[in-house]
């Protein structure tokens, strides 16, 4: 039985994620204005009934741009997690299941990835592939491999000791079958937690890269890029910086609380 | 019982949950005399450890002593504030735990952990403290005490660690030691060694002890008197001999029946059907009623008053009805 107040963070997390997801879905069909439409007459107008979040230096509606930007945030987050999870799964599962020299080798590789500060690794990778959404996704995906690999490896080593796994090994079941039928289903919740946290981490890193001008490039909309463009107007149009950054924060917060909440409720069950 | 060192009188302890308070100890009363070892037995979840923690004043955060007094040498422990408690713990009453592997701080040397008691309660010089520590370590059978003084817990085996815990409990020369299943986690040969240690301590140190165990064999070898607890209540109490030979309460009987014993070799070991009711499942009646073969209607409504029967006292409707005078 879970006490009520304890689930408040999870509740907030879910609400944020759902709200932003719905906004993202809506943006495919409707935005208050065309996010790219330029109105030189209404440049940098402050928030009003007409433009809830104000307009940017091209007179474009900031709210509409933020809504469109959520598509990029979700796309990069989702794709990066998929890449990280897939590769991390293969590495982690092989390392954890077979152990021995393969484990040693794979984990050295993972360690080498960790020798670079995260954003540095991303910067390196992005510059190799030319800045853009695709290379940002690949870089962020590679960045999140170590987390997944380690969690999956650890859980597999832990569950391998259990009788039901040992029994299937003894029965001579194939390695793949054991990994997919017996081991993975048991570690879905740590993977889910890691995915949620790595999603928010990717969104955060994407905004950082795009802010540096190395991430997503126009015409693809990106919140980080918007902040880069908003920086010169920080004092003359503070709403531009404030609203955009706030949305990034809320999205990241949402997924962080979600991941944390899932973990907490799992701990409570255990 | 005027020479009692510790007298617990009508103590109630309850747990606070989000949906209300649940009593965990009900009307617990017993006493421990000078130089007496009182055992407490019962299945897990019966409130043995909670009783110990109540005496030590280290109840969990969500538990509270709602009624009763704990007289210890003319002081009512139940009314002490935290600071007064700290002066008593380790110095007048000390405690030994079940888990020797985890009850030591892994990052501090053995010597320092034992010595800490002296640091807190005495004003001895460093050298004196070390000398005393080493002598106590020797007295609990720790070999090469000088060397061990500087080692860390992970260097030691389980049995050795339990000796360290015992040394910690002894070094303050307390009047009362509470041992909570001190041998349970150890393997059999080590168990025997530790029990021997307790026996010799009892013989040499003249100390009083509350000894919690679910193992009658252990109780028999160490204790003078024994209390049987079930679901937060004392159901029977008496000398070890009396209870073992002539258990009255159906629960005590069942417990004794389930002792593994070489005379029953080859037979199925007896186990009591059912489980101890959880905190929230306990009513006003006898908690054992649901598992009792002699259950009567009244059992579910009212918990019986204890009845004295020679060397022992029993709380069971069987006996209050049997005409023994109340």
């Amino acid at each position: 039985m879970m006490t009520k107040p304890k689930s408040i963070p999870l509740f907030i997390g879910i609400s944020l994620v759902v709200t932003i997801s719905i906004t993202m879905l809506i943006s495919f069909f409707y935005t208050p204005y065309d996010p790219n439409e330029i109105h030189s007459a209404s440049r940098l107008s402050s928030p009003s009934a007409e433009h809830l979040f104000g307009t940017d230096n091209f007179g474009r509606d900031i709210l509409s741009r933020i809504m469109e930007g959520s598509q990029t945030a979700f796309l990069t987050g989702f794709s990066a997690v998929s890449i990280g999870l897939t590769v991390g799964l293969v590495i982690g599962a092989c390392a954890g299941y077979f152990e021995g020299w393969l484990d040693e080798l794979l984990m050295r590789f993972v360690d080498a990835l960790l020798a670079f500060p995260g954003i540095l690794l991303a910067i390196m990778l992005v510059s190799v592939f030319e800045p853009g959404m695709g290379s940002t996704i690949v870089a962020l995906g590679i960045m999140s491999i170590p987390t997944f690999a380690r969690i999956i490896r650890g859980s597999i080593i832990q569950y391998k000791k259990f009788d039901f796994v040992q029994a299937s090994i003894a029965k001579g079941a194939g390695s793949l079958r054991i990994i997919f039928r017996h081991l993975l289903p048991n570690i879905t919740s740590p993977i889910l937690v890691a995915a949620s946290l790595s999603f928010s981490g990717s969104v955060l890193a994407e905004s950082g890269l795009s802010y540096l001008g190395l991430g997503v490039q126009p015409p693809d909309p990106s919140w980080g890029r918007m902040l880069k463009e908003a920086q010169p107007y920080i004092t003359s149009a503070p709403w531009y910086v404030i609203t955009t950054g706030l949305v990034i924060t809320l999205m990241v917060l949402g997924f962080n609380l979600l991941g944390d909440g899932i973990r907490d409720s799992n701990d409570n069950r255990a | 019982m005027t020479d009692a060192l510790l007298t617990i009188d009508d103590v109630n302890v309850s747990f606070r949950f989000s949906d209300g308070h649940y009593p965990a100890l009900n009307h617990i009363s017993f006493s421990v005399s000078q130089n007496e070892v009182v055992g407490i037995v019962g299945e897990s979840g019966c409130g043995k450890s909670l009783t110990a923690r109540t005496i030590m004043g280290i109840l969990p955060d969500n538990a509270m002593l709602s009624q009763g007094s704990i007289m210890f040498d003319d002081t009512d422990l139940a009314r002490l504030d935290e600071q007064e408690w700290q002066a008593i713990r380790g110095r007048r009453i000390s405690m030994i735990f079940q888990e020797p592997m985890t009850s030591l701080n892994p990052l501090l040397t053995i010597g320092r952990q034992i010595e800490e008691v002296l640091k807190k309660h005495t004003k001895k010089t460093k050298r004196d403290m070390k000398a005393k520590t080493i002598s106590v370590m020797n007295s609990v059978g720790l070999p090469r005490a000088e060397a061990l003084y500087k080692s860390y817990p992970h260097h030691l085996s389980g049995g050795m660690r339990q000796r360290v815990v015992i040394a910690m409990a002894l070094i303050g020369e307390p009047d009362l030691i509470i041992a909570d299943e001190p041998t349970t986690a150890l393997d059999v040969t080590i168990q025997a060694q530790i029990l021997d240690l307790f026996k010799s301590l009892k013989a040499t140190r003249n100390m009083s002890m509350v000894f919690i165990s679910h193992d009658w064999g252990v109780i028999r070898s160490v204790c003078d008197r024994v209390i049987v607890m079930y679901a937060g209540r004392i159901v029977e109490e008496g000398t070890v001999e009396a209870l073992l030979q002539n258990p009255q309460h159906p629960y005590t009987k069942a417990l004794i029946q389930s002792i593994p014993d070489h005379t029953k070799k080859g037979q199925m070991l007896y186990t009591i059907p059912g489980t101890v009711p959880g905190l929230k499942e306990r009513g006003s009646g006898c908690p054992f009623a649901s598992r009792c073969q002699h259950k009567q209607a009244i059992c579910e409504q009212k918990f019986p008053e204890p009845v004295r029967m020679g060397e022992q006292s029993v709380a069971c409707h069987l006996y209050s009805e049997a005409g023994v005078l109340e």
Binding site: N36, E37, I38, F58, P131, G213, Q231, P232, S236 | -
Partner: protein, 522 residues
């Protein structure tokens, strides 16, 4: 090459100045009175001039090299221009005036240049500047000393003679009206080559210290040869501040006295705390159209694009209104050569544009890939506006951002592009500017081919009198417009902000911070 990633708007234009290897070039603008300033030139000497003081100038780009023959960055040259002097110098109107040279003659056949040097010029290390130093410098520039030529403008030098210590005669291999302007290049002391660490020149300021990425300090040269032009200021500090916003805040806090390129937004913030000098900077921002790819090889299509792009709107949104609309690859900053009126040839007219599109067979529009160097926010912003504008005539612009390094390779060198946006920085010589469209010029990455145009440029180069030369260059500009070679967008203004109390900053058709006259008033 300094490509900071901090956001910038207008200051981006300082960065494209770096796109050119060297900006100080030859020219013959005897009459050019180019530096017209919209806000009025700071020529007011009525208040009392105060000698002394320190001026701190915010620079958006880093110094690439203190050695003037190695440095390629215009900003660096602008700063170091105060340390070095050449035989000639340029005034605010782009006219060449004697500096180290007392005067000069050009022979009738145009092949022999004779310079007589001032006899009181000393370098900052105290040594006297003589003809020997000029020969050393020019041989180095021309590659006559065995090394590679440093400047192609000097490659036409055949030999240099020194009849006396203060006279130099330069013989050219061929006639070129473009050579004279090359003589503004710094004269360096002979056989001293540690300029990267401790530059020595003969200019009005002396090098004091330099901390990489942070600050360049210059001190007044009290022994400057031109006594009338000994600076007022004791010291000049160039502070490297890549982020325009931070330089504005610094100016607000009184930590900076001059910002050489400031945005309208920035000015708004500073309010009446500062005064400004502003005007066109002789830069040409274009949307280059690759004339050799379908369908941009059709004149009608290029014209339609020109008609659809609303340059006024771009100037308004991207440059905060601070820019002058262009019609050809030439800025009015060089008035003498400038063909006026071309900027209105393609006044925005969507109906007309659609008609042309239809005539070209693209009634339903087409897809156009616009490749923009991502390092320049200014161009990226321009591109975003153009994308929207071209939607009007159903051209679906696919915006593609690449790093400048890749841009140089793919777009500029390999010509693998359809359209791009770039800025060409100011040159003193119209030939340097207009040469880009000559058919066989290597860097004609627009692939413009027009025989008549080539002819006009050739005629200009061989012209004997300035008026005729100017006429040829003006003709050439008209051809570019008529052919709609590309979309010539604007010359963004350079606006210099100065704290109140400072005076004497002048604007030049090339980027130049002449600090000789800058002074505090009481």
């Amino acid at each position: 090459m300094k490509l900071n990633l901090a956001t910038r708007t207008l200051t981006a234009l300082f960065v494209f100045i770096l796109l050119t290897a060297c900006s100080n070039t030859d020219g013959q603008n005897h009459e050019a009175n180019g530096s017209n300033s919209t806000n009025g030139q700071e020529n007011n000497h009525s208040s009392a001039e105060v000698s002394g003081g320190v001026v701190r100038i915010a620079m958006s780009t880093e110094i690439d090299n203190l050695d003037p023959y190695v440095s390629a960055a215009t900003d660096t040259m602008s700063m170091m221009d105060n340390v070095f002097d050449g035989l000639l110098d340029t005034d605010e109107s782009g006219q060449l005036v004697p500096a180290i040279a007392e005067d000069y003659d050009i022979s009738d056949d145009g092949l022999q240049y004779t310079f007589r040097l001032k006899d009181n010029v000393v370098f900052h290390d105290g040594s006297e500047l003589t003809a020997e130093d000029v020969v050393y410098s020019y041989e180095k520039l021309a590659g006559l000393n065995g090394g590679e030529p440093i400047s192609s403008q000097f490659e036409i030098i055949e030999k240099i003679e020194t009849p006396s210590d203060f006279e130099v005669i330069i013989h050219l291999k061929e006639r070129s009206s473009a050579f004279l302007a090359a003589n503004i290049r710094p004269i360096l002391p002979a056989d001293y080559d540690n300029h990267s660490e401790k530059p020595i020149g003969a200019g009005p300021f002396k090098f004091e210290s330099y901390v990489v990425g942070q600050e360049l300090k210059l001190k007044r040269n009290d022994d400057y040869y031109d006594v009338d032009k000994i600076p007022f200021l004791d010291e000049v500090q160039f502070k490297i501040m890549p982020d325009p916003e931070s330089s504005i805040l610094a100016m607000q806090a009184g930590e900076i006295d001059i910002i050489p390129g400031i945005s309208a937004q920035g000015l708004l913030q500073l309010g009446d705390q500062v005064k400004t000098v502003s005007g066109p900077q002789n830069m040409v921002q274009i949307m280059a159209l690759n004339n050799s790819v379908e369908p941009l090889n059709q004149k009608e299509v290029r014209q339609a694009i020109n008609l659809a792009v609303d340059k006024d709107m771009i100037i308004e949104t991207v440059s905060d209104g601070d820019g002058i609309k262009l019609g050809s690859n030439f800025s009015p900053a060089m008035d003498f050569y400038y063909e006026a009126g071309l900027e209105d040839v393609y006044a925005t007219n969507i109906a007309e544009a659609k008609k042309l599109m239809k005539a070209a067979g693209y009634e339903d529009g087409f897809e156009l890939e616009l490749t923009v160097p991502s390092d320049y926010q200014f161009h990226v912003d321009t591109a975003q506006v153009i994308v929207e504008q071209l939607k009007e005539i159903d051209i679906d612009v696919d915006l593609k951002l690449i790093e400048f390094s890749s841009w140089l390779e793919n777009v500029y060198t390999d010509e693998q592009y359809e359209a791009t946006i770039i800025g060409f920085t100011g040159k003193l010589d119209p030939y340097e500017i207009l040469r880009r469209y000559v058919t066989d010029y290597k860097r004609n990455f627009i692939n413009f081919e027009h025989a008549q145009y080539d002819e006009r440029i050739d005629q200009a180069l061989k012209a004997t009198n300035p008026t005729e030369m100017a006429r040829m260059y003006k003709d050439a500009q008209s051809i570019l417009t008529e052919e709609a070679a590309s979309v010539f967008i604007m010359d963004p203004y350079r606006t210099i902000a100065m704290t109140n109390g400072l005076e004497g900053m002048k604007m030049y058709p090339i980027q130049k911070f002449n600090l000789e006259d800058v002074h505090y008033t009481e």
